[in-house]
């Protein structure tokens, strides 16, 4: 089984998000980058599914050379090789097109992504790759088992879950539950340095979106503290002042 895992290079989850240049650019100063946490879940499941010589895992990233440490981290976790499409990722449409172009003649059985990147929160790439390749896609999955040519998947729906099967090639975006994220060990870190990381050129595609400005949430007023011995007054405030119950 050949699995392609798409990884995104994102700011660490503890990053304080700020913007520069009149709020038109993300302020990258001092930001630590990590493998998108959901992509780590996808990667960890891919490694589990191919362990013991049952297949190979390739990671793909669309980004510039600065992303290489993040890609090496994915190799340290256990991917066999890596590809970087050398372009600044414009939007999900652009990224998905690059991944689809790379994958179209490579015969991957399965393409996995995380449910969303924690920077743009799109959850678009998996389904877009599926559409560009004209193969099924399943978004926000919680469980993935593969038996021969057929996969059984659980995906989240409002207030419950859906169990479905899919045969042949497909794309899925992984959420918590699919696998426990693997932590690289020393041997993994050492071998990651010498695993293949191929750089390929991007293909041209029309622009469909453009972020023109960022905003941060409006600051909240100061908290109204209610003494613990007057707890019951909270209900009245929520009813008559905040008008939410």
């Amino acid at each position: 089984m050949k699995i392609l895992v798409c990884i995104s290079n994102v700011p660490d989850t503890t990053t304080k998000i700020t913007f520069t240049n009149d709020n038109t650019e993300f302020n990258t100063s001092g930001v630590q980058y990590i493998v998108n946490p959901y992509d780590e879940i996808a990667l960890s499941r891919a490694i589990e599914l191919t362990e013991g010589g049952k297949g190979t895992v390739t990671v793909i990233n669309v980004g510039e050379a600065g992303n290489d440490p993040t890609i090496r981290k994915a190799l340290a976790i256990g991917a066999d090789d890596a590809v970087r499409v050398n372009a600044a990722p414009r939007d999900a449409y652009f990224v998905a097109k690059q991944i689809a172009e790379y994958a179209k003649d490579k015969d991957f059985n399965l393409i996995l992504t995380g449910r969303e990147s924690i920077d743009y929160n799109g959850n678009q790439v998996a389904a877009m790759v599926g559409e560009f390749l004209d193969i099924p896609s399943v978004s926000i999955i919680k469980k993935l088992d593969v038996d021969g040519d057929t996969a059984t998947i659980e995906r989240e729906i409002e207030g419950g879950k859906e169990v479905l099967t899919v045969s042949g090639k497909f794309v899925a975006s992984c959420a918590e539950g699919v696998a426990e994220p693997k932590i690289p060990n020393m041997r993994g870190i050492m071998s990651a340095r010498t695993k293949p990381l191929v750089v390929v050129d991007a293909v041209a595609i029309e622009e469909v979106t453009k972020v023109t400005k960022y905003e941060t949430p409006a600051p909240r007023g100061t908290v109204k503290l209610i003494p613990a011995d007057q707890t019951e007054s909270l209900i009245g405030l929520l009813h008559s002042e905040a008008k939410v119950i």
Partner: protein, 322 residues
């Protein structure tokens, strides 16, 4: 030019988030001086389809084919894109639900359209078609210009509200060719907890963290949520420890929610947690640590032990309802 809204049904019914998407799509149609058409796929009674008129849909395309009774995003995307082309719709709106998230990107590729998902406001009308959407897991918003001729917008639940705009909806049967290869995913089972409020589109949420000490103490959280008609949620350490299911985990690596009321009990308010809940309209924090960072973003706070405060709240709520 017109606007097309996809109305997702569950067991033949539309949820509030669907009426919200229709209300939002109607407001866009008004901005563009055009009309709104809705498309429903699956087995839905005419009386339910007529309801869509109440929120401004003047036409409803009803797709009721045997092979499309349950959700298959590939086939549904084909049908919706075909409807958009036939209706001359250049803007497609849908709810940013779990299924919507699997569907919208496929529609966008079919229509070569820019997609704004997680939209929280109406598009701007200053000559550029820009949509404000959530980014950085609730820590920011990105004003995203859709530069393509066709556009797809997935609206976040509770972002716009349901607005009545009574029109008489004309129902039309609609069919589109579906390739066999579009039916690659087959649903085997759907499990829905019918007695619980679904978290992503809940208006009220009661959430608890490690301060609860163990899964056996969730009874009072469930009781409080039950009295309020609220969904229950939890922090990451709680779902990581399997005290509660992952589907309840809100925060940066869980789900992001924007209810009208978020009550956080025994949650300190780490930046990753705040990211997922900061767009809640009203936040109540109950924590015994007065230095808990969550108080800085709360509207109301009680410094106290959850095991004393929550039972008092339950009593007060019972009295309030009586």
């Amino acid at each position: 030019m017109s606007v097309l809204v996809y109305v997702e049904q569950a067991e033949g019914k539309f949820k509030k988030s669907v009426f919200e998407a229709v209300s939002y799509a109607k407001a866009i149609a008004d901005q563009q001086s055009t009309h709104l058409t809705a498309i429903s796929i699956g087995d839905v009674a005419d009386s339910e389809l007529k309801e869509l008129g109440k929120y401004g849909a003047s036409k409803v395309l009803n797709v009721n084919a045997d092979q499309l009774k349950t959700f298959v995003n590939q086939a549904y995307a084909s049908v919706i894109a075909a409807a958009a082309e036939k209706e001359g719709a250049d803007i497609v709106v849908l709810s940013n639900s779990f299924s919507g998230k699997g569907l919208a990107p496929r529609i966008a590729v079919k229509l070569k359209a820019g997609l704004a998902d997680g939209a929280v406001e109406l598009p701007s009308t200053d000559g550029k078609f820009s949509v404000k959407k959530t980014a950085f897991s609730g820590k920011a918003f990105a004003i995203t210009e859709l530069t393509s001729a066709n556009k797809v917008i997935a609206l976040n639940p509770n972002a716009f509200g349901v607005k009545e705009n009574a029109t008489d909806a004309a129902i039309e049967a609609f069919t589109a060719d579906v390739k066999q290869s579009d039916l690659g995913t087959v649903i085997k089972e759907i499990v829905r907890a019918t007695d619980k409020v679904s978290l992503p589109d809940a208006e009220l949420v009661v959430s608890a963290g490690r301060g609860l000490k163990g899964p056996e103490n969730w009874g009072m959280i469930e009781e409080l949520a039950g009295l309020l008609g609220a969904a229950t949620a939890c922090s990451k350490p709680v779902s990581d420890a399997d005290w509660r299911p992952h589907s309840e985990h809100v925060g940066q690596t869980g789900i992001a929610i924007s209810p009208n009321l978020y009550i956080a009990i025994g949650i300190s308010g780490a930046i990753q947690h705040l990211a997922g809940v900061s767009s809640s309209k009203v936040i109540v924090v109950i924590n015994k640590d007065p230095e808990a960072p969550f108080f800085k973003v709360a509207d109301y706070g009680i410094v106290g032990d959850a095991f004393e405060v929550v039972p008092k709240l339950i009593e007060a709520l019972k009295a309030h309802k009586a």
